[in-house]
């Protein structure tokens, strides 16, 4: 059996799923989902066209989202992708709010709101991003980044919980 899909999956690696796991058969049934999740992961953190968010900034925002969800292992995975010399490293700390950089402040405020309380987001929040100079394309890139990492966090937590309890 070819288990490359499992070895290459960041989500299964972070959730520390072993091939002798009691839920491995269930995961195998959904191997295509884990392959596609890995493709989306690449499109999120290391895309061909990064747009207005370089790789370090993407990884830093992702790590911050994980910390806001108390998902430390995935937060550490993303934090490890950031070069220590990058200014983006500050972003991983949820108490950092941008230090007067208008663009970064707007991005982090939006990231925190949509992560923790998506129901409270409204049209005004999109206008705030535009007002701080973020392009339409980058608003979609940021939205996908925030939304996708929130997906990843639940998959990891759900699988971990299944492994422990089933």
């Amino acid at each position: 059996m070819n288990d490359d899909w499992a070895r290459e999956s960041v989500l299964l690696t972070v959730a520390q799923v072993q091939q002798d796991s009691p839920i491995f058969d269930s995961l195998s049934l959904r191997s295509e989902i884990f392959k596609l999740s890995q493709q989306a992961h690449k499109a999120c953190v290391n895309p061909e066209n990064v747009g207005g968010f370089d790789q370090a900034e993407r990884a830093a925002i992702a790590s911050r989202i994980c910390s806001l969800n108390n998902e430390d292992q995935l937060a550490n995975y993303y934090a490890d992708l950031i070069p220590q010399s990058s200014h983006a490293i500050q972003i991983i700390n949820p108490s950092y709010s941008g230090d007067g950089d208008r663009r970064v402040e707007a991005i982090l405020k939006h990231t925190d709101l949509v992560t923790a309380s998506p129901k409270d987001a409204s049209e005004v929040d999109i206008r705030k991003l535009e007002d701080s100079g973020i392009s339409t394309e980058d608003i979609v890139r940021l939205s996908e980044l925030i939304a996708f990492v929130n997906y990843e966090i639940r998959v990891v937590k759900g699988i971990r919980s299944m492994e422990q309890l089933l």
Partner: protein, 191 residues
């Protein structure tokens, strides 16, 4: 201009984007390619055109979405829709809730379950198995993911297999993603 809907409904609204969608006649080859894999669906046109601003993500996202919603085996179609609704109600995504409540009602040929969920946004009047599914999906969706061992064991006691529980994790996670696009990038407008 019509004001956005704020109450849950099983009638699928129009989705009005908050940002300019890609114009089809100006789309790049990569954007066209990413949009091609999308099934034609009610009101989804504007949404896909908005997401086409990030074609690489859209290209991976559409088959992933369909794979979780429509794969054979594991959780039934109707219980997959129930999981999608639970997460969408928690995140107050009126559009996603309407689409998936509508599908649930079609599949089950009843409106009582969704009416009961809309009335109090809890699982109060559901069967034990529906309750277990609704509660687990809701708790996995919250930022603090405050589910306990009891919530997982309730799924097992209700007769869900490991394959079904994994599918429930996947669909609930998928809507943590979908709600954060649909509810953030546009408004639901009554048709």
């Amino acid at each position: 201009m019509n004001t956005p809907l704020t109450k849950f409904t099983n009638k699928i609204p129009f989705w009005r984007p908050r940002i300019a969608p890609v114009e089809l006649d100006k789309a790049t080859d990569e954007q066209l390619n990413a949009m091609k894999v999308t099934p034609s669906d009610t009101g989804i046109g504007e949404y896909v055109l908005v997401l086409a601003h990030d074609p690489e993500m859209l290209h991976a996202r559409t088959p992933l979405f369909n794979g979780i919603m429509y794969s054979h085996g594991g959780l039934s179609r109707q219980e997959t829709e129930l999981g999608a609704v639970a997460t969408s109600v928690l995140n107050h995504c009126i559009y996603c809730t309407a689409v998936h409540a509508n599908r649930y009602n079609q599949l089950t040929e009843t409106e009582e379950v969704m009416e009961s969920i809309f009335a109090d946004q809890t699982s109060a009047n559901l069967s034990d198995r529906q309750k277990a599914i609704f509660n687990f999906a809701t708790k996995l969706s919250s930022t603090q993911s405050e589910w306990s061992e009891a919530d997982v064991l309730a799924l097992v006691e209700s007769g869900l297999s490991k394959d079904e529980i994994l599918d429930l994790v996947l669909v609930s996670s998928l809507f943590a993603w979908a709600n954060r696009l649909m509810h953030i990038l546009g408004d639901p407008i009554e048709l």
